[in-house]
């Protein structure tokens, strides 16, 4: 939404400032909205069945197969990151639904590695 604001006498406020509205305690304030606020990611609750990479790195080894029944604490994968071989262990009892990466893949933080069911 673009609104024009009248220039103040000697004011530094530019004529065509892009203004939007910000809701604070149910009052709507006419103001400039920062790009950081506009681009913020909507919150999503974490799903324990989705195993995401917690650090960027390389998939060194995968110990499980799709369809395999796994127990809590069982080793799923080795993720090589920051000169460390990180063991990814299963956080719950379940079954491997699918594996989204293969050996040797470079993954960034937050990449889906494996899905449980």
């Amino acid at each position: 939404m673009i609104l024009k604001v009248k220039e103040l006498i000697h004011g530094t406020m530019k004529k065509d400032v892009k203004l939007g509205f910000l809701n604070i305690d149910t009052s709507l304030y006419k103001t400039r909205i920062s790009s950081k606020f506009e681009n913020r990611k909507p919150y999503k609750a974490a799903d324990p069945r989705m195993i995401l990479s917690f650090i960027p790195g390389t998939v060194l080894d995968i110990m499980v197969k799709p369809g395999q029944v796994v127990k809590q604490g069982e080793e799923l994968m080795i993720l090589d990151a920051m000169k460390m071989q990180n063991q990814l262990k299963c956080c719950m009892d379940g079954k491997v639904k699918c594996i989204s990466v293969k050996k040797g893949d470079k993954v960034s933080k937050g990449t889906l590695l494996l899905e449980l069911e």
């Binding site: 004011g11 530094t12 406020m13 305690d25 009052s27 103001t31 990611k41």
Partner: protein
């Protein structure tokens, strides 16, 4: 040898060393749009004021054939001079000599001038332009950085420390600027990062340019590492010179007084702030309408714009301003703006600069991202910084002062010395809409016309609480003043707080939430 001959010999030796890394390297430096280290020092300091030390220092590294290499000045110029007559100690890394890399003797030159600055209680300026640690010197190079960081920390709050990033400043080297008071960057020239694009690409497979990773804009707009952004080295030097006029030479002095001057008459202070508390305006216009010559020197202009900080003068004396900016994000307090304000408040307190706070905020920014980013911890920094500050603290409530935001913005309860409010001030636990919805929920819900009832109740609340008089009746506000009287009241308050003295309980140091 006759003395004349010896003088000539000295001149020749100097001339040779003045050429730094030689013609070719200098040409390369120029091609990047950069001045040489020596040119920078000369451009920044008053004419003929530079006294150079340690020109003849050489490294004594032996490994990797380093014993066969001569590095003029070991890649850094140190000395002292003046800026508008103020004494300053300065070092400037010379990229034309071994890429300005930091070896043991290079670091010893820097720490020598740092020790000198601290001992003589004068400001220190560091010009950074270096490829990083001199790998051939191994752990000696790391030791050098450590010695610099230690001195940055010990000098912090005693002498002003200014860092100027005029080239790469990568890896551990970034921590010296980060420990200093003010960081200056120049577009397309400054580059600061812990791990560079190459490493990021190898390890993570992510591609990014140096500029996008740690260029001047990034640090001015996103990270908040830089305080002043300039388009050119010239503009940058002008900014540094101007800053020097606003700050004292050390923590036992006040900034030098200037001749006072009235604000430019064109700023009509009565008309800047709209009556409707939801409408925006530029709070810098209010600042300009009350300070000497309307000359406001803003700091971190591009970062967390919802709060404005900077220096101005009143009656010729430096004052620091902290002001909510309704033009940006309605002037809310959030993680970044709290951090920005808190650090500046502590700067002012450390260097005897009175703080004037202009209040107009609806409260804190709601959101999961804010809560998870630690708005509690960061917001607490503002409370801490204001409560701890013993310099004169003057507060003017222009319009909204709601809830926790009211308390945080240098309220009486955090020991502001003077709290003034304009007649447009609304000092309340929250905005009228929110408050009416809670207090009169039953009446609104059970009404045949909930919207009409809500409006009526909002009006009732506004009439009763959206004003400065409730707070004034408790003495939380010292005086309700006309906007046009603001400068007069502030000038008087500043003059009577000239000798403010407060004894804080003894402690080694407090534990601010950082």
């Amino acid at each position: 040898m006759a003395i004349n001959k010896k003088i000539k010999e000295l001149q020749e030796k100097r001339e040779k060393l003045f050429r730094g890394g030689g013609e070719q390297a200098i040409e390369k430096q120029k091609a990047l749009g950069k001045r040489t280290a020596r040119e920078r020092v000369m451009a920044l300091l008053d004419e003929n004021s530079f006294n150079e030390y340690d020109l003849f220092v050489e490294h004594d590294a032996r490994d990797f054939d380093m014993d066969k290499k001569s590095l003029p000045t070991d890649g850094v110029i140190i000395g002292s001079g003046t800026i508008y007559g103020a004494p300053v100690a300065i070092f400037a890394q010379d990229f034309t000599v071994a890429g300005g890399s930091l070896g043991l003797m290079h670091s010893r030159k820097i720490t020598k001038i740092m020790d000198h600055a601290l001992k003589m209680r004068m400001p220190l300026i560091g010009i950074n332009d270096s490829g990083g640690a001199r790998i051939q010197e191994g752990v000696n190079s790391l030791a050098g950085y450590g010695e610099i960081f230690f001195r940055n920390t010990i000098s912090s709050g005693v002498i002003p420390q200014i860092s100027v990033i005029l080239g790469p400043c990568a890896g551990g080297a970034v921590y010296s600027p980060a420990l200093t008071d003010f960081v200056f960057v120049v577009d397309n020239i400054s580059k600061m990062f812990i791990t560079g694009p190459e490493v990021i690409k190898t390890v993570l497979g992510e591609e990014i340019s140096m500029e996008d990773l740690g260029g001047a804009r990034v640090h001015s707009e996103i990270t908040g590492n830089a305080h002043f952004f300039a388009e050119s080295e010239d503009e940058c030097f002008d900014q540094i010179k101007k800053l020097i006029t606003f700050i004292p030479w050390n923590n036992s002095q006040k900034a030098r007084p200037f001749e006072t001057g009235e604000p430019i008459p064109g700023y009509n202070i009565d008309k800047i702030v709209p009556d409707d508390p939801t409408l925006p305006y530029d709070v810098r216009d209010v600042i300009r309408s009350i300070i000497d010559n309307s000359d406001f020197f803003e700091i971190m202009e591009l970062y967390a714009k919802n709060i404005v900080i900077g220096f101005g003068r009143m009656g010729g004396r430096t004052v620091g301003f902290v002001a909510n900016q309704p033009l940006e994000m309605a002037g809310v307090l959030d993680v970044d703006s709290s951090d920005k304000a808190a650090r500046f408040i502590r700067y002012c307190d450390a260097f005897n600069v009175p703080i004037i706070t202009l209040v107009d905020l609806p409260g804190y920014l709601p959101g999961v991202d804010q809560e998870h980013a630690g708005v509690i911890r960061h917001g607490a920094k503002v409370l801490y910084a204001y409560s701890e500050a013993t310099v004169p603290k003057l507060t003017v409530i222009l319009r909204k002062a709601y809830g926790g935001g009211y308390i945080a913005m240098s309220s009486r309860h955090l020991r502001a010395d003077f709290v003034f409010a304009w007649p447009s001030a609304e000092i309340a636990v929250m905005g009228p809409e929110g408050a009416a919805n809670i207090i009169f929920r039953k009446e609104i819900m059970s009404s045949d016309d909930p919207d009409g009832m809500r409006k009526q109740k909002v009006e009732e609340y506004k009439a009763k609480f959206a004003n400065p008089y409730v707070a004034a009746s408790r003495g939380y506000v010292d005086a309700v003043i006309e906007p046009g009287e603001t400068r007069k009241f502030l000038l008087h308050s500043l003059s009577v707080s000239e000798n403010k003295s407060i004894q804080m309980p003894y402690k080694k140091h407090g534990l601010p939430p950082f």
